[in-house]
């Protein structure tokens, strides 16, 4: 309902100046919806009274697609869920199959996965930071993070062969070791990175325009966030301490020392701060993993043809956007019987209606940006 003040209700002009609510389609072709997401807004002027999400414009049937491929063949397609955090997606699927097979992944492979995964998390957060800041109007902030992301993508290309959708891991370990000269480049990046993050924060965190635009906007309480099953920085922005890396340590995450940044109010600004601090923590984890890199095998004992035993497995990783879970069912054959993905973007997107009610259109844009959704993962 329209928020009316008492003066407005008793105004004699009320009869004359009759206003009307109207409906606005935001998307699917809107520059700020980060893809083909459509929001139907009920507006009173520029104030959002109600909002409805319409999904499915990027549905590719990835889960069904996987059922028609062998276990190995299905690995590259899961990169295409969240195409800016592909390495972490691959990790989730491969981990699920390894769990079902009962394969022990060698420690060196686990450490390499941590290094690549955290690099991917930084790359994802950099892209998010750039686009989110651009949505709020800070144009240079699109380019500065992109510049650092470029270094990470170059590292991926040298290590995995591709920049965006590298099909990073085979089932049972990692494909290759680090190439020569990779580690020094990575360390140089890590050394320069905190200074760059300081620059981003200098441009945004203290800036009064940024603060006015983000503080108190798109608030979601911890209770609501848990009830809506949000995860990742979107949940932690509301002050709920849940990180899969800490709660259910996988891939040797227990070996590393890092903090889980938490917000307080659950607004756009807190989610922003969470992600920025998370980038610093990720850099810390990579540093530790590179320092403590164990020697050994790269791949566990996996046959050429993979036939997991009859059964089911659920494996979850902390992807860049939140908790990414894979539920797989095997009938003992060469192909998966069912692969179900619990994708964080899809779940987090549920929070948007709670967050944007009563805010302005400009806030909706900021909120969509702060959720860090990728439509490839929402629609699958």
């Amino acid at each position: 309902m329209a928020v009316e003040t008492r003066a407005e209700k008793t105004s004699p002009l009320r009869e004359v100046l009759e206003t009307r609510q109207y409906e606005l389609n935001m998307g699917p072709q809107h520059p700020a919806t980060h893809g083909v997401y459509r929001a139907v807004l009920q507006l009173d002027g520029e104030r959002v009274l109600a909002m409805e999400s319409v999904l499915g414009y990027l549905h590719r049937g990835i889960e069904k697609w996987a059922e028609y491929r062998t276990w190995t063949q299905a690995t590259p397609i899961f990169d295409r869920l969240d195409y800016v955090g592909a390495v972490l997606n691959g990790h989730g699927y491969v981990g699920a199959v390894e769990k079902l097979l009962g394969v022990e992944v060698p420690r060196r492979a686990q450490y390499i996965r941590v290094v690549l995964g955290e690099l991917q998390r930084i790359a994802n957060h950099l892209l998010w930071l750039g686009t989110h800041a651009l949505d709020v109007g800070a144009m240079s902030m699109l380019f500065y993070p992109m510049r650092e992301r470029e270094v990470i993508l170059d590292l991926f290309e040298a290590m995995l062969g591709q920049r965006l959708l590298p099909n990073a891991y085979p089932i049972g370990g990692v494909r290759f070791d680090f190439p020569k000269g990779w580690e020094p480049v990575c360390r140089r990046f890590l050394a320069a990175f905190p200074g760059r993050v300081d620059d981003y924060e200098g441009l945004l965190t203290g800036n009064r325009i940024w603060r006015q635009r983000t503080i108190g906007v798109g608030v979601i309480s911890a209770k609501d966030a848990i009830a809506l099953s949000l995860s990742g920085p979107t949940l932690r922005g509301s002050g709920v301490n849940f990180d899969v890396r800490k709660a259910i340590p996988y891939s040797s995450y227990g070996d590393f020392e890092f903090e889980v940044p938490l917000g307080k109010n659950g607004d756009v600004f807190d989610r922003y701060l969470c992600r920025v601090r998370e980038m610093r923590q990720s850099a810390r984890i990579i540093q530790q993993a590179l320092d403590g890199m164990p020697e050994g095998e790269l791949r566990g004992k996996v046959g050429k043809i993979i036939r997991p035993p009859v059964g089911e497995a659920y494996y979850t990783v902390e992807a860049a956007k939140g908790q990414l879970g894979y539920y797989i069912v095997s009938d003992g054959g060469e192909k998966p019987w069912r692969v179900h993905v619990k994708s964080p973007s899809f779940v987090n997107l549920q929070g948007i209606e709670t967050m944007s009610r009563g805010n302005l259109i400009a806030d909706v844009v900021a909120i969509i940006g702060s959720l860090d959704i990728v439509l490839g993962e929402v629609d699958r």
């Binding site: 063949q73 590259p76 510049r147 995995l160 062969g161 085979p170 290759f176 200098g202 441009l203 009064r208």
Partner: protein, 158 residues
């Protein structure tokens, strides 16, 4: 005191000036733009570009065909009598249009005949230009001198 400090901060906007100083800092720094068509990028060896196949060393085992998730490779072995002496495929079709550049076909190849190259400019005028057969399959003659080390994914001199 705190209120005065806040007021001073509001009036003198140090944080806005700090942001402007940061942008000025980058104004003076060297740029990262690569003038692409003029300056060619040096790609790392593991880059998964266009698939290259060496028909001469192929033994028609069809491992790549089975591995490909998109089914863009078709290998037709030669007739049995010929196969005993010459294992090269009778026909080899490669549909680059559907290729995911995932590298799954490279892993199982026993002879290292199929591998990704550093060729990355894959835009063509017509779809047909992405369909290759035995005669038109690309193979980089320079790379022929190398054998593929699968584990390291680095070339080894023959």
């Amino acid at each position: 005191m705190n209120a005065i400090g806040r007021f001073l901060q509001m009036v003198t906007f140090p944080e806005l000036l700090k942001g402007m100083a940061i942008t000025t800092k980058y104004l003076a720094k060297p740029k990262v733009t690569e003038s692409y068509p003029d300056a060619r990028p040096v790609l790392p060896y593991r880059t998964k570009g266009r698939l290259h196949v060496e028909i001469e060393t192929c033994i028609s085992c069809r491992m790549c065909e089975k591995a490909c998730p998109e089914g863009c490779i078709r290998v037709y072995p030669p007739p049995k009598e010929v196969f005993k002496t010459d294992k090269r495929p009778a026909e080899f079709y490669l549909n680059q249009e559907h290729c995911l550049h995932c590298g799954l076909c490279v892993d199982p190849c026993p002879t290292g005949s199929i591998h990704h190259s550093q060729e990355f400019e894959l835009a063509v005028v017509h779809y047909d230009d992405l369909l290759f057969d035995k005669e038109t399959l690309p193979y980089d003659l320079d790379q022929k001198r190398f054998r593929w080390n699968l584990l390291e994914n680095v070339p080894v001199k023959k």
